[in-house]
């Protein structure tokens, strides 16, 4: 960071492919900016549908992040700190949603939490509760897709945290819960925050699992990405571009906010 490297010349063998890589990742966003209907921007951004979708997206992503924090931090702790048999398998399983196509995730969620699903069927028959097509389903889909980001970040932080502090706390008579709460958690807080931000951003962008499991209805389940998808299919590319830019703006702001506290260093 404050280290200054004297030799700043970058070898071309690295610079050329790096430039290509940056181009592939950054140009598409630049394309959106160039094509954006700057004149209609404010009218689109303040239209009822967009505002409703934005509000719904912010609320669901925030609730999903809350759920992911409550459930995901303990999962990360379990993976990093206990000698569970089959821990490697569990780690593989809980991180599958990172690489699973979200649409497939949505189908799987329907199989389990749908009205005729394994758990959903029981919920419906017993309590008359049906999850699909509700805002709760949006949150569940987002948790499914985004929580692994949090788990990975927090597990990384836990692994790099010095376990000897926990040993000391144990010799001082602390229960493992006290140790977790007063020693471990404060130590990995930066990792937890980084994970929560990533998780939030990912939940905000969630599309496939949401559309499959929660459907798409304005005000209830149609979040910003779904609104964008509808706009694309309806040929409303202006709206689609504006919505995309809105999401990119939110994501970039948040990722840059993370700065050096990024997953990689957590």
């Amino acid at each position: 960071m404050s280290r200054r490297t004297a030799d700043l010349r970058v070898p071309a063998a690295l610079l050329i492919p790096a430039a290509l890589g940056v181009a592939i990742l950054v140009l598409p966003m630049a394309g959106l900016i160039v094509r954006a209907p700057w004149g209609d921007l404010s009218s689109i951004l303040t239209s009822d549908e967009v505002l409703t979708a934005l509000r719904l997206s912010l609320v669901t992503a925030t609730v999903a992040t809350g759920v992911a924090l409550v459930c995901g931090v303990p999962v990360a702790w379990l993976l990093a700190r206990t000698a569970l048999p089959g821990r490697a398998v569990l780690r593989g399983l809980v991180t599958v949603p990172l690489v699973l196509p979200p649409v497939v995730g949505g189908v799987a969620l329907l199989m389990v939490f749908g009205r005729r699903g394994l758990v959903g069927g029981w919920l419906y028959d017993t309590f008359g509760i049906s999850l699909p097509f509700t805002t709760e389903a949006v949150v569940l889909a987002q948790v499914f897709v985004a929580m692994p980001f949090l788990i990975v970040a927090v597990e990384g932080a836990l692994r790099t945290a010095d376990r000897r502090y926990e040993d000391v706390a144990a010799t001082l008579g602390a229960t493992s819960w006290t140790t977790f709460r007063r020693v471990t958690l404060p130590a990995v807080m930066p990792g937890v925050l980084a994970g929560a931000v990533l998780c939030w951003a990912r939940a905000l962008g969630e599309f496939g699992a949401t559309v499959t499991f929660a459907g798409s209805f304005p005000g209830t389940t149609r979040t910003l990405p779904l609104e964008a998808y509808v706009a694309i299919n309806a040929g409303d590319s202006d709206v689609a571009i504006v919505l995309s830019l809105l999401m990119i703006a939110v994501s970039v702001t948040i990722l840059i906010g993370l700065r050096e506290r990024w997953i990689g260093t957590a």
Binding site: R116, A214, G215, S216, V230, N233, A234, G235, S237
Partner: protein
Amino acid sequence: GGDDGGDDTAAPAGTATTEPADDAPSGTVTVLAAASLTESFETLSDQLADQYPDLEIVYSFGPSSGLVEQVLAGAPADVLATADTKTMDEAVAGGVVDGEPSVFARNTLALAVPAGNPGGVTGLADLANPDLRIAICEPQVPCGGAAQRLLDAAGVTAAPDTLTTDVKEAASLVALGEADAALIYLTDAAAEGDAVETVDVPESDSVVNDYPVAVLTDAPNPDGAQAVLDAITGEPGQSILGEAGFLSP
């Protein structure tokens, strides 16, 4: 032949893999078709396989409006078949359609419910019941437009729980039992088989969608495209579509 797309990036799906015979069309024909045509068109290509052994038909099904967007963005396809004239008109306006589109089929809507009708749906009026789980197509896609006209005709204000981007999504929600009722094409309800029942809707005949088909300007395989178009508008297309429940144009 699955073309790896490496030898001709402009038209990977339509590259001719054999020299065309004098009369018989050959090579690959890429057809973009409305989701509601899925079953019928697949049956059609099975039957054409005998007639044109060198012709391979590749489909991409989806919401009509989305398909039009793809064509406008340069999708290398030969034939476009949509579920209403409005979406096809956009393609014509975009200058990607070669000649006049011709209507090859018409379709009506059905009120579909899961097998056993767990929601006890008896008519269109039930679509206003907020306690039922109802799926309707997005208004911008053909089946959604049709649904809107039907509901207007019946004077019903529906209370849908989800708006699907294509008709097949709505159909599969009913088939899975996740929706109590959906307005889908009669043909899609039939295609779902035993999983889906239909409830009689007297007003349904009043709303009919015309299905136009056209060869695309940039069709990589215009000869094959014309052959497929002819098969759709003539035989064996018309009888297959009729069996699936489509009305003749």
